[in-house]
């Protein structure tokens, strides 16, 4: 099945959960936030959240930052999901 992860089209095995996805991508579950089709998931729900074909997943974490930096990039990376929300 096809899933959009952090703006990239990816193919995964059917029926995987968010926990499986993080594991496959080699991302530790602590200190990440996951948004599935614009809904922020509770960390405790990762193992039960089964992904479906066409889902959009955003995986975020903390990076160095003081105040606004690289603002053009920052803006761009959320535009796709925002327009999706308004549909």
């Amino acid at each position: 099945m096809n899933i959009q992860v952090n703006g990239e089209a990816k193919t995964f095995q059917d029926g995987i959960t968010v926990t499986d996805l993080l594991q496959t991508l080699d991302i530790r579950t602590e200190q990440v936030a996951v948004e599935l089709n614009l809904i922020i998931l509770d960390r405790g729900d990762f193992p039960q959240s089964v992904l479906q074909n066409g889902d959009t997943v955003e995986i975020l974490s903390f990076i160095g930052g003081g105040a606004t930096i690289h603002l053009h990039d920052n803006k761009r990376h959320l535009i796709n999901t925002q327009s999706a929300r308004r549909e």
Binding site: V34, S61, A67, T68, I69
Partner: protein
């Protein structure tokens, strides 16, 4: 003759800053902070330099941004591998957000990432100045406070807006000294002084500091803390500047508490006239 009088309970120093400031802690929303110098973690060469600079600054509050995890290059290290949330208060920001909607989204994502309810709220109004959109800021702050966030808003040096932020439940207010990364120092000392006089929550001067004297001045005016990033990270020697900032903050704070002499136009002799030939 009494030697107690109004003298300070403050003990002579041995050069150890932590000891100097130990009896003067900053408390916001029930959280106690050791350092009055807060630092951002952007623009450093690498995480090791970030950590060394933060420690040279003596900062226990560090701001971080929330961004997409790089899923294609997974060998990259995590900032929080270097900054253990047990040792530092991690303050996620909503930097880069130009709308209330985006700021809310990033704040909620930051909380979901599991550090705390703290958020440094930024709603930016303009790309060139990076001045806050204060109307959007107040709106976003109101919503986040209702959702249980501890909202520390980055705002303009406007006393009215600062009061409105307090009215919607912000436990501290963070007015800018000058535009982010500008290094111009305190551009509007009179507004800042009005904010410090009229606002009854801690005031953290955020953004625009260029060098140690700027930080000292903010503290001498009575600011409760100063948050900076570029002034340290952008210095030729960031580690040395971090240390300089630490002394600037401590010197300014002590001078504020000690109470400066009034400015006078004419001289006042400091040596007695009695006993002169």
């Amino acid at each position: 003759m009494t030697i107690s009088g109004t003298s300070s309970t403050h003990n002579p120093r041995d050069g150890n800053n932590e000891h100097i400031m130990a009896d003067d802690q900053l408390v916001i929303a029930g959280k106690t902070f050791k350092s009055r110098l807060w630092v951002g973690t952007g623009k450093y060469k690498d995480f090791a330099e970030t950590k060394t600079a933060i420690d040279a600054a003596g900062a226990d509050v560090v701001t971080v941004a929330v961004r997409r995890v790089n899923i294609t290059n997974r060998d990259s290290e995590n900032l929080l591998d270097y900054l253990n949330p047990k040792d530092y208060t991690i303050l996620p920001n909503t930097a880069g957000c130009y709308t209330v909607e985006d700021a809310l989204r990033y704040a909620r994502l930051a909380r979901a990432a599991g550090i705390s309810d703290l958020v440094k709220l930024e709603v930016i109004g303009d790309e060139r100045t990076l001045f806050p959109d204060t109307a959007g800021l107040i709106e976003a702050a109101k919503i986040l406070v209702k959702e249980g966030f501890i909202v520390l808003p980055y705002t303009n040096d406007d006393p009215i807006v600062a009061q409105k932020l307090v009215d919607v439940g912000c436990p501290a207010v963070m007015p800018l000294a000058a535009p982010i990364g500008s290094g111009l120092g305190i551009r509007n000392p009179y507004n800042l002084k009005i904010i410090l006089e009229t606002i009854n929550v801690p005031i953290i001067v955020d953004a625009g500091v260029g060098t140690a004297s700027d930080a000292a001045l903010a503290m001498e005016y009575g600011a409760d803390a100063v948050l900076m990033n570029t002034a340290i990270a952008g210095a030729k020697d960031p580690i040395m500047m971090a240390e300089a900032m630490r002394y600037g903050i401590d010197a300014g704070r002590l001078a504020y508490r000690a109470g400066r002499i009034p400015r006078k136009l004419y001289a006042t002799a400091s040596s007695p006239i009695v006993g002169m030939l």
